[in-house]
């Protein structure tokens, strides 16, 4: 029974982190930039929600109304000031740039808010069904993830700009010939990517304590998921998220807690060796 409960829990966490990875893969697809600071935007969102809760008594769910537009604005700003200038440089440069940005964000948070662990005390009633118990907060996380995934899907398939993002992902040169401005599409997708990360931060506040350097873990987690699902494949990202979530939670039963950070690494290596293009096999190069 414990295993079944862990699987359900892993499913909930996995969906949330799958959506987080979706933000990473969206940016990768459009501008071929791997955003190493992705997880640090989660931390920024989490800290925003934390302070809104502590200082203003704003419920983390309500604070999504802030973290989503704030994340989008931040993403647009970062794109215009920094990322735009390396999209045509060698890949090395965008890796260094986002790595430096990640260092900058985490050290700024460290400077202003100290390394203390922060958490909010908000609990939703747990859900019982089929003899299983799912903590309410995890259920909220899963619900939010599904909502974002569905909205993103509608946006990408039903709206002009969504289709433009897919067109540029497919073939940016042809998209340009069709009158789509790849610059604007990049701006939009980077904004959405960061908005997703920052809003996931609000939800993460419901699930765990957060401290300034936790962003690296989220980046790594998103990478593992994205690699598992195939860079550039949205459905793959969600599937990858679910796989990682479930494996992570179930494995915690059998291996010592201290070794759990190594699980993601092991999954990553296995996938990279056996199937570098991921489960959904999105094309590379």
């Amino acid at each position: 029974m414990i295993v079944a409960e862990l699987i359900v829990l892993g499913l909930a966490y996995g969906l949330l982190f799958g959506v987080l990875a979706l933000g990473l893969t969206l940016v990768w697809g459009v501008m071929k930039v791997v955003n190493i600071a992705h997880g640090d935007f989660v931390t920024v969102g989490a800290y925003s929600s934390y302070w809104l809760f502590v200082l203003g008594g704003v419920h983390p769910i309500i604070s999504l109304l802030f973290t989503i537009p704030f994340g989008f604005g931040l993403g647009v700003l970062v794109y215009l000031a920094l990322v735009r200038r390396v999209t045509h440089a060698p890949e090395l440069m965008s890796l260094f740039l986002t790595f430096g940005l990640s260092t900058l964000i985490s050290s700024l948070l460290l400077y202003f808010y100290s390394p203390t662990q922060r958490s909010v005390d908000v609990t939703f009633p747990s859900i019982n069904g089929f003899g299983l118990v799912l903590p309410g907060n995890a259920a909220i996380a899963a619900a939010y993830a599904v909502l974002v995934a569905v909205l993103l899907r509608i946006f990408l398939t039903r709206t002009f700009w969504g289709k433009a993002i897919r067109a540029v992902t497919e073939d940016s040169h042809s998209a340009l010939l069709m009158g789509i401005n790849p610059e604007r599409v990049s701006l939009l997708s980077f904004g959405i990517g960061v908005a997703i990360a920052s809003s996931v931060g609000s939800i993460v506040m419901l699930l765990q304590a957060v401290q300034p350097t936790v962003g690296g873990d989220f980046t790594l987690l998103s990478f593992v998921i994205v690699v598992l699902g195939g860079l550039g494949s949205p459905i793959g990202a969600l599937l990858g998220g679910v796989v990682v979530g479930v494996v992570d939670n179930v494995a915690s039963l059998y291996i010592p807690a201290a070794a759990t950070p190594a699980i993601g690494f092991i999954i990553l290596l296995i996938v990279l060796v056996l199937r570098p293009s991921g489960i959904m096999g999105a094309k590379t190069d």
Binding site: F96, L97, G100, I105, L110, L268, P276
Partner: protein, 321 residues
């Protein structure tokens, strides 16, 4: 094969007098330093950082692949040498060498699954290695697990440590020079510029990347071994501190990625800067490194060396006109 040797000889024949003169003066200064420099440990750590960033530079600068887990070589090198000194009581010089070899072995191990990965996939894989190594050493009782351990006092020999450091630093720069100017370096350049084309003309990219990573790991491992010899204490948080990777990267970037002397320039400047900042404002240190990495990428992607080179080229053009 014959054409290879010819290329090597040809390029090495082009050592310019000025380069040679500067190297000799610098080396003479470093060798004579113990007799007139009061704080020898400052020079020691500058050289240690030069080795760390030069070894990072060997791989990233020459192959175009980023190894975000560079610190694992430093940590493992430190552990191997410290264990040998504390348990087997071997000569510290051999221990430093063993630390380098241990990290080379690790580099080979890391290459097995990752050498065939392209671009970002490689960077992602290395990003996770750090975490994994930390977890292993933090839970491994035979290496002292979380508390780590301390070297016996008898190993503390400041002047000998310093001279070993000079030898390792000088050889890391010399090896970078050889790698850059040899036919091996030409192959790496081809891989960096376009790996698929390089492969299509018969360059075994995975082999070249593996060998380069092994050499890079060897020097970073010796840097770790030397640092532990000087600090005398090793534990997982200090041996696998991500800040070390961040620092090595910013030093190499600031000096000029891919250039031979870049890490010497970047390492010296940043060591002095972060020494000052670290003493006075603990948390600002990392913010400054982040700003430097971002700033260098945006403003001078080829670093100080590249900027100087462009300055000279610009001045020469001006004279001709």
């Amino acid at each position: 094969m014959t054409s290879d040797t010819k290329t090597i000889r040809f390029s090495l024949g082009k050592v310019r007098t000025i380069e040679l003169a500067v190297s000799v003066v610098l080396l003479a200064f470093l060798l004579a330093a113990p007799s007139f420099v009061a704080r020898l440990s400052v020079l020691f750590f500058i050289l240690n950082w030069v080795v760390l960033s030069e070894s990072f530079n060997m791989f990233a600068g020459l192959t175009g692949y980023v190894n975000f887990g560079h610190v694992v070589f430093y940590g493992v090198g430190g552990y191997v040498s410290a264990l040998l000194m504390a348990n087997a009581h071997i000569s510290p010089y051999l221990a430093v060498l063993a630390g380098g070899l241990g990290s080379s072995l690790l580099a080979f191990g890391i290459s097995l699954p990752t050498a065939r990965l392209r671009g970002a996939y490689f960077a992602i894989a290395t990003l996770s290695i750090n975490e994994a190594m930390f977890v292993i050493f933090d839970n491994w009782d035979a290496v002292g697990s979380a508390p780590g351990f301390t070297l016996p006092l008898s190993y503390y020999l400041p002047v000998q440590q310093y001279y070993t450091m000079v030898v390792v630093a000088a050889s890391s720069v010399a090896v970078m020079y050889l790698l850059t100017k040899s036919s091996f370096g030409v192959a790496l350049q081809a891989i960096r510029q376009q790996e698929s084309t390089a492969s299509s003309i018969g360059i075994n990219a995975a082999y070249y990347k593996t060998v380069t990573l092994i050499i890079s790991g060897f020097f970073a491992g010796m840097a770790g071994a030397l640092a532990i010899w000087e600090i005398t204490i090793i534990d997982p948080p200090s041996a696998f501190d991500v800040t070390i990777t961040v620092t090595a990267i910013s030093m190499a970037m600031l000096g000029g990625l891919g250039s031979i002397v870049g890490p010497i320039i970047g390492g010296t400047i940043l060591y002095e800067l972060s020494d000052y900042l670290g003493l006075s404002y603990p948390f600002i240190h990392l913010i400054v490194l982040g700003v430097i990495i971002v700033g260098v990428v945006l403003l001078i992607p080829d670093g100080i060396v590249g900027a100087i080179r462009r300055g000279f080229a610009w001045a020469r053009r001006g004279k001709e006109e």
